[in-house]
Structures are given as structure tokens and as C-alpha cells.
Subunit: 464 residues, 2 copies
């Protein structure tokens, strides 16, 4: 990057908010995926207006810009593929307005998602989406990736809670999209297309989110199964009984054993699968729903069903799930965490298919995830130094994605496409589907300067 460009950045952001030293670039070259590319400059925004000036500069001087929250993404969304400038958003973390009467909160995009709940709780409200990264990821990153989490079946995902947003468009215009009303049909659903747009269409600087009343009561249970099919059939039976648990987490035998090796969480090493189930709502209702859950579990190939009698027991049940990823990470030097997702009814096919793929390529895999919404996290346990194993893993992952597509599922339930899944998106959407995305991108960002190279490639003549 030219010296004159650096000076222009310093004029916009202030000298101490612009980094250009090589050693500073390293921290902004990666996220939680497997790609690492160093930018040429890093800037820390504190206002929407600064970002508008940045994009006008970027467009005048043809500099790629990649927005970044906390860099906790799992698909490479904040890695600066085309170098240029990394725009760090996590200094923008003000609460603009908490409006309990309308169950709304408006915050800056850099706020950590988990910081919303303590404020909302003052009026007995909460923000339902709870991705695993909720304690450190930013709400802007969550919106850009349409983050999911454990409560998707009952409470939906991020897009179900985004009402309004302030956005800096790629060429620097500042617009407000959406509306605070429950119902709003004036113009296209522009806020909707920004949720999950992975930083390709504009930079969200403020978002207005809807909140829900904190459920009065929560019931928790641990169900242990002798067979995978028993667990899968129990999930289907619970849903068919009209119950919508707030959480229904699945862990397979490999995951159970990894957890028990990591830390004794009281899980039976010989169980084929466990489900962690929660119902919530009014007290009587949550209890009645859990009774229906138990009845359905007992009809299937189960070994044990235990309802938590205290919040301590509940925490004990969940301790295993919480450490699952760390536990799996300890089995081998590296792990490849996927989020290929299918409909609930296809879960048994998906689990069998994943196991078959792992066997075919002689790979270790642990499967855990959100059974209620079909969003599993098959996790391959590997050693990156082993070239042969990595080649087999690559083939296995490719087959895994195709399996999800063949089962009418999706190659990504909640982590996004970014760089990691870009080669597979056309299999999912088809050539015409990709062309639509390219056209939308070109409409917003004709020079392809905002987070270029993510999700899909642009036709040659349009790229930066």
C-alpha cells in the first residue's frame, strides 16, 4: 500500500488507529478456519462516518477492504484474501438504545453478542441466538454469518431477530434498512439479504434486534441410547408428539469417549448416543412437555433417562457438551469441524453416511450437534503433518458435502461459505444460483472491493 494511502487512512481514523507493521498484520491474518493471509493495513473504526470515508477511499483507489469482528468465524469470512485493508469493528460496541416496551435493542456491530443478555435481563428479556462463540464473537459477525446455535429448532437463528440495520454500502453511502415495527412491507426485504451476506454487500455498523421474554422455567434431561437409530427415532417421535424442545443436543460414542478422556462428565463410555434435551416456557408447560419427551424416549432403544433435579445437575449434564469440541481437539493434533446440515428426518441417514465415509477413508470422526434442527457437527480428528491423511480428509469432506446435498440438506447450516466451502457452493446452488449471487454482489459492489473472493468468484472482468 502506498504511503499516501496510509496517510489518508490516518486522516480518517487517527494515527493510533492504523496499523501497518508486518508484525501487527499477523494477528489480523486469520480466523478460526484454516486460511492465513496478511493484510497491508489494519484500521480500527469507531464511527459509521469513518467507514463511509474508508469505502469512498477504497473505491477511488481500488483497495480491497475486509471487515472483521473478533475473527472467530469458522469459514474464513474475515480473512483478507486479496490483502488490502482489514477493517476492525470491535471498537464499535455502544448500546444505542434498549427499548423494552417494544422488546428491541439497538447496538453497534462490534458489541460482543453475550453482552446483550445482561442488559435485556433487566426487563426480563433475552436474545435467543446462541452460537458457540457467543461469549466472544461480535453481533455484527453473527449477523453477517446468520449465526445459529443450540436453540434453533424452537427459537430460530439470527435472521429471525434482525429488524433494522445501519449499513455502509461498498461505495460509501450510509443507509438504514428495515424497520422497528413487527410488520413492515415497504420495499424489498433488504435487511433480510444482509443477514448472512458474509460482509460482501456492505458493512453493518448498527443493528436493531428483537428480544423475547425469558422463559419462566426450564426442564433439562439426559437421555442415553443403546443405538444411533434409537436416538434418531426418539428425536422424530418427540417432534411428532408436538413438542418443540428448546435444546436437543446429540453426541455420538466417539464424542462421549473423547469427553470422558478429557474430563469425567459421567457419560457412559459404551452408549452409542446421548441426547441432552431442554424444554422451557411457563413452569407447568415446560414440565408437561418434558413428560411427553420422556414418554417418547422410553418407547425407543434407550438405556436411561434422567431429569435434572437442580440447576447443578443441569450444569453437570451440559458440562460434557460444553467441553466436547475441546475434548475432540485433544484426541489428535488437529480437527476439521463441519456443519453440513439435513432435515431432522434425514438424521439417521446422515449419521450412517458420515460413519461410512470416515470408515472408507480410515479417518477418526466424532459427531455431535443440534439434533432438533438437523445441524450436526461431524468433526474429523486428524494430524495436519500427515499429508496422506489430509488428502483422505479432503476427499471425505467433499463426500460429506455431497451427501448433505443428496439428502436435500445444505453444505452449511451455520458457519457460512467464506473460503472453506467456496469450492462446493455451486454443487449446492447450481450455475444459475451462483449467477444470481454474482449479480447481487455486482449490484452492490461493482468493483468487487468489499471482502473480495469469498463465497463465490466473480466473472474475471469484474474482479479487483
Amino acid at each position: 500500500m502506498k504511503k499516501s494511502q496510509i496517510e489518508k487512512l490516518q486522516n480518517i481514523f487517527g494515527k493510533d488507529k492504523v496499523l501497518t507493521e508486518i508484525e501487527d498484520m499477523i494477528a489480523y491474518s486469520y480466523d478460526a478456519s484454516h486460511v492465513e493471509i496478511q493484510p497491508e493495513a489494519v484500521v480500527f473504526a469507531t464511527t459509521t462516518e469513518q467507514i463511509s470515508l474508508l469505502m469512498k477511499l477504497a473505491y477511488r483507489e481500488r483497495i480491497p477492504v475486509t471487515p472483521r469482528g473478533q475473527g472467530s468465524g469458522l469459514s474464513g469470512g474475515s480473512v483478507p484474501l486479496k490483502k488490502g485493508i482489514v477493517l476492525v469493528m470491535d471498537r464499535m460496541k455502544r448500546i444505542i438504545e434498549f427499548d423494552p416496551a417494544n422488546r428491541l435493542i439497538t447496538v453497534e456491530a462490534g458489541l460482543t453478542t453475550a453482552d446483550i443478555d445482561p442488559i435485556a435481563a433487566e426487563a426480563n428479556l433475552f436474545y435467543p441466538p446462541d452460537p458457540g462463540s457467543v461469549g466472544f464473537s461480535t453481533i455484527g459477525g453473527n449477523v453477517a454469518e446468520n449465526a445459529g446455535g443450540l436453540r434453533g429448532l424452537k427459537y430460530g437463528v439470527t435472521k429471525d431477530y434482525v429488524k433494522m440495520m445501519k449499513v455502509v454500502l461498498p461505495q460509501g453511502d450510509i443507509v438504514t434498512l428495515g424497520n422497528k415495527c413487527v410488520k413492515h412491507v415497504a420495499g424489498f426485504n433488504m435487511e433480510g439479504i444482509f443477514v448472512g451476506s458474509e460482509g460482501l454487500l456492505g458493512i453493518m455498523t448498527e443493528v436493531t434486534l428483537s428480544l423475547l421474554p425469558i422463559p419462566e422455567h426450564r426442564e433439562s434431561a439426559l437421555a442415553i441410547f443403546n443405538s444411533l437409530d434409537g436416538a434418531a427415532q426418539a428425536v422424530a417421535a418427540i417432534i411428532a408428539a408436538g413438542v418443540t424442545p428448546s435444546t436437543m443436543e446429540f453426541m455420538d460414542n466417539a464424542t462421549i469417549n473423547a469427553i470422558q478422556n478429557f474430563k469425567d462428565c459421567g457419560l457412559p463410555r459404551d452408549a452409542e448416543a446421548v441426547l441432552l434435551i431442554e424444554t422451557d416456557g411457563q413452569k407447568d408447560s415446560a414440565i408437561a412437555e418434558m413428560a411427553k419427551v420422556e414418554a417418547e424416549v422410553r418407547k425407543n432403544d434407550f438405556r436411561d433417562f434422567t431429569r435434572a433435579q437442580s440447576s447443578e445437575e443441569r450444569d453437570r449434564f451440559f458440562a460434557g457438551r460444553r467441553v466436547a469440541l475441546n475434548a475432540l481437539a485433544g484426541v489428535r493434533p488437529n480437527l476439521i469441524l463441519e456443519d453440513a446440515t439435513v432435515m431432522r428426518s434425514k438424521l439417521p441417514d446422515m449419521v450412517r453416511g458420515i460413519t461410512a465415509i470416515a470408515n472408507k477413508y480410515k479417518l477418526q470422526v466424532g459427531i455431535f450437534g443440534h439434533a432438533g434442527d438437523g445441524n450436526l457437527h461431524p468433526t474429523f480428528l486428524v494430524d495436519k503433518r500427515d499429508k496422506d491423511e489430509m488428502a483422505r480428509t479432503e476427499k471425505a469432506v467433499t463426500e460429506l458435502f455431497q451427501l448433505a446435498i443428496d439428502l436435500d440438506g445444505t453444505i452449511s447450516g451455520e458457519h457460512g461459505i467464506g473460503l472453506e466451502k467456496k469450492p462446493f457452493l455451486q454443487n449446492q446452488l447450481g450455475a444459475e444460483g451462483i449467477r444470481l449471487l454474482q449479480n447481487i454482489k455486482k449490484t452492490f459492489d461493482p468493483l468487487n472491493l468489499l471482502n473480495p473472493g469469498k463465497m463465490f468468484d466473480m466473472p474475471e472482468q469484474q474482479s479487483a
Copy 2:
């Protein structure tokens, strides 16, 4: 339209599915709004492929096409402004797949929305959005307008239930957008931007909708208030108490009297306002919630609170609400039904403002609507033959929209922009907001042939 073009239409749809006689055009020249324009031809589609061929023909020969469901829209969305061809969708009404295990149903766009529930009910499921037109409007029309209804506060609107769709793009390509999974983040949220797109971006031919379990129990009550503020404060207090009623319908004194003149529904003529409130869910939960509702109502300026003791009593409560529009229609020769919407907390300001506007312009107005989601239907009672009154009404409506915008609300909560509100959209979205919509439209429909002239104008050089 040229004879050769008519023949090409007959080749695509069959001779008996193409109308061109002047007298046939009349029935396809209007919807439930106030605009009437006759097309040059009407075609009845039965397959997606026919529609693809139609759009290819339209693009080759530069013919405007306007899709139409049952013509029950309130904003002119299906009126063929630029003449050309009206594409009637209501012959496409097959159930493609009912999938209770995944709580999904896939139907053709021409199916009447109310026809979904009897099928869903076989597995104890239901489709929550319930616009007033649910008994005759098509699901394709509901999706195109992002229809709302009485249960918006608790259950959301159409866009919250659309998972996947088959779409014919303006140039004739057939694409599938979205996914059946609960979680799906592969590509932009393209299905999201089609919901509420008013037939401007493509023609939906099939949609996959999510369903919910039918609530076990419903509690209904009629609350009568001495003052508008009493009703508005009760709404706020109920929400603040953490209750989310499934219905909270508001009617003002003018509406109450119109109903009582139309048919005795037992409503007190001297009450300033009534609220019809329902809670639903597990039985104990619905009852407990209604107890909280009652406690909050009793803290405000109420006169009477009656819980329905039977479904007959419930029907009696709702009889008034059901005939409200017909009753108001009987007061004067014509009515102008609006749907300007604000946040719940702004309801008292909105009701006061509407009353002040009506007084200023010496107009009769009845106000009823969905208090829980701030979506009121101020209804001006007029005589279209009275030019002076109509001129005053036009001014009143313009002020009403500006009031909604000034209160951070929206000019349309559920009826859409179409032709009726097109002049006011820029006040809502700003010039930059309109430019974004134009750019999106141009991306999908570069020659502006699909439902041209609705929602916003295109820059001159691009129009059909």
C-alpha cells in the same frame, strides 16, 4: 397485442387458457384497491415450464407480464399497469408434499392459503399467518405481499414461514431458492428477498412453508375500556408483564358503533375502545397467561373484562371483529382502508394523531387492527362522488403516512406498496433506499417487464 403473439401464447398454454376478448379483460383489470387497468391478454398457467416459456417470449417481444393470484390485494399489486399479459396463477394449486416429520408443506403458488390448515391438521400442525383474506387469497400472493394477520406479535408474518421456493426469473430461468433445513447459510438469503417482492423479481410457482404444532388450548377475553389511553396502556402493560398474546385486536368507538348498527354483537356503544385478547399454548400456560392479562387490564382505565367460557362465547366476542370492515363499509358509500404501522409503544400517539387528522379534514374514520404488533387499520369512510371530500381524504392519507414515518413506523405493515403507496415510498426509504430497490429490480429484470411500474418507478432509460 399482435395476432402472432396471441398464437404463441396459445401454443404455450393451450387455446382455452388464453383470453383476449375485451369483456374477459374486465375481470382481470382490478384487485381490492382502487385502480383499474385492462390487460391485452390473460393466460392461465398450470406448470412452471409454461411460465418459463412465457417469460422468454415476453423478453423476446418486450411484453409486460403481471402475475395475479386471486386479485384480493389491497395495494394494486396485480393490476396490469402497463397492460400486456396478466398471468393467472390460481390454477396451480397442487399439494406437492406434506412432510409432518419436518413440519413442512410444499404447495403450488395458486393454492388458497386456508386450504393448508386442513391438511396440516392431520398431523396436528397449522400454518400461522392469517391475513383477513386467508379464505380466498393464494399462498403465492401471500408470499409476494409478505402477508400478516391477527397473530403477528406471537407468530410473526409470512416471511417467517417461507423456507424454499421455485421461481421463474423474469428472463425465464427456473431456480430453486432457499432450503428445507431449519438452518441454511449457503449463499445469500435469496428466498428472503422474494418474500414481499410484490411480483417484481420473479414468479414463485412452488413454496415450502414451515408449520407449527396446533396449540393445545386457547383462552379468549373481551376487555372494554373507558378511554383510548386505558386500552393502549393495557397493551403496553401486558407486554411488559412478559406475556405474548397470540391475538390482541383493537377497535375504537367509531368501529364499535358501526358494528352495532350492522349487527348486534353485544359491544357497548359508549366504550372508547375494546381489546379482543387471546393466549394459547399448553392449557395451564394459556390460562396462567390470561390471568396475567386480566391483572394488567384491571390496573388500567377499564370497564369490563370477560373471559370466554366456551367456544360459542369466544365466537360471539370475535363476531364483531369479523364484520368490522363490512360494518364500516356500510356507513358511507366507500372506504379507504390503510395499514400504516408503528411500534406498540407509539400506539397512543398514532391513534391520537389519526383522530386529529380526521378532525382537521372533517372526515369520518374508524380505527381497528392488531394492537399487539402496532398494525392499525385506520379506515376513512367517504363518498367517492364527493370530489371535495376525496381531495380532503387524499391530504389526510398523506399526513397519516407522514405521521407513521415520523413515529419511526412504516407506511405499510401488511398490504404492500403496489400502486397505492408508491408516491410515498421515497419518504419512507429516502432517495438512496429507492436507488437500492431500483438496482435490485434491474439486476433481476433489466427490461422492466415483470409487473412494471409497481412500488417505485425505474429510471427512464430502463422502463419497458
